[in-house]
C-alpha cells in the first residue's frame, strides 16, 4: 500500500463509529501491510471470537499471531507498523495504538485444529481468523478448566460461539472440534459436550 492508500484507509477507520467494524477494518489494514511483505498474520483470542460472533466480548485490542514460513522480526514489525501515520507503541514493539484502538503483535500461532482458518475480506485487506474449532475448544477450556475452574465471562463467550456454530452461522467440523477439545493442551471434551448440550437446550427453549 502506498502512503496515500494507508492515509485514506485510516480516514475511513477514524470515521467508523461501530467498535467491531472499526477493529476489523484496522485488522484488515495491519494484515495487509504485513502480508504484502510476505508474512501471514492470524487474528486470535477474544477479538477473533468477536469477529465470528459479534458477541460484545472484545476489549480495545486485537491480538495477532503469525503462521507461514516465518514470523516478522521485532525490527520488521516496527518498520511495518511505523508506516501507519500517528501510530504509537507500548511495551517495545508488542502493542500498537492508533485511532483509539490497540493491536498486539504476538508470537507464532499455537493451534491444534488442522488449519481450517476463517477469513473476512475487508476493504483494506484479508483478515485471517484462528480456526473456529480451536477458538471454541480454547474458550471452553478457559471457562471451565483453567485456574479456578470457572470463569463466567469466558463461559458466556464460549456459549455465544457455540450458538453461532450450532445455527450454522459459522461452519464447523465437529469431529475436529472434539479432537481439539480432547487434545492434551485442553483436555476438556467433557466440558465441551456439556456446553454444547446447554446451548442446544437454551436455543430449543427460546424457539419453543
Amino acid at each position: 500500500m502506498t502512503a496515500d492508500e494507508i492515509t485514506s484507509a485510516l480516514a475511513v477507520i477514524r470515521q467508523e463509529t461501530d467498535l467491531n467494524s472499526k477493529a476489523l477494518l484496522l485488522a484488515g489494514l495491519v494484515s495487509e501491510l504485513f502480508r504484502e511483505r510476505g508474512f501471514e498474520p492470524v487474528v486470535v483470542g477474544g477479538s477473533a471470537i468477536e469477529f465470528y460472533t459479534d458477541g460484545a466480548y472484545m476489549s480495545g485490542d486485537t491480538d495477532i499471531c503469525w503462521t507461514g514460513l516465518w514470523p516478522p522480526t521485532p525490527e520488521q514489525q516496527e518498520e511495518i507498523m511505523r508506516q501507519i501515520p500517528g501510530i504509537k507503541s507500548h511495551g517495545g514493539v508488542k502493542s500498537w495504538g492508533i485511532e483509539e484502538l490497540w493491536v498486539d503483535l504476538l508470537g507464532e500461532i499455537d493451534f491444534r485444529a488442522d488449519r481450517d482458518l476463517g477469513r473476512i475480506l475487508t476493504p483494506f485487506g484479508q483478515v485471517i481468523l484462528i480456526p473456529v474449532e480451536d477458538a471454541l475448544a480454547g474458550r471452553v477450556y478457559a471457562a471451565r478448566c483453567y485456574c479456578s475452574g470457572y470463569d463466567e465471562k469466558d463461559d458466556d463467550c464460549a456459549k455465544k460461539l457455540m450458538a453461532a456454530v450450532l445455527k450454522g452461522d459459522v461452519p464447523i467440523d465437529w469431529d475436529e472440534a472434539r479432537r481439539v477439545a480432547a487434545c492434551s493442551k485442553y483436555n476438556c471434551l467433557t466440558q465441551f459436550e456439556a456446553v454444547k448440550a446447554e446451548v442446544e437446550a437454551e436455543l430449543a427453549k427460546s424457539e419453543s
Binding site: D18, A56, S59, L117, Q126, K153, L203
Partner: protein
C-alpha cells in the same frame, strides 16, 4: 489486496458485505444464550487499555444496528 499463501475453504470466507449483513442475526442468536455485553473486567497487561479508555478495558460498545447494545 495481497493474496494469502494459506489455504482457506470458500465456506469459511466472508466478504465484507456478507459479514455486515449477518451481524444483527449473530448478535440476536448470541443474546439468546448469554448476556448482551460480556467483556472481561480484567486481564493480564491491560493497563494501557485502561489509560486509553478512561479506566475501562475498551471503548463503549456502539452497535448502530442494535441501539440497545449499551444498555447493560
Amino acid at each position: 489486496m495481497t493474496p494469502t499463501t494459506l489455504t482457506i475453504k470458500p465456506e469459511r470466507t466472508w466478504t465484507w458485505e456478507q459479514w455486515q449483513a449477518g451481524r444483527a442475526e449473530r448478535r440476536r442468536l448470541g443474546n439468546l444464550v448469554a448476556p448482551k455485553n460480556i467483556r472481561r473486567k480484567k486481564s493480564e497487561g491491560d493497563e494501557y487499555l485502561r489509560e486509553t479508555y478512561g479506566g475501562e478495558r475498551g471503548p463503549k460498545f456502539n452497535k448502530p444496528f442494535d441501539p440497545s447494545a449499551d444498555e447493560d
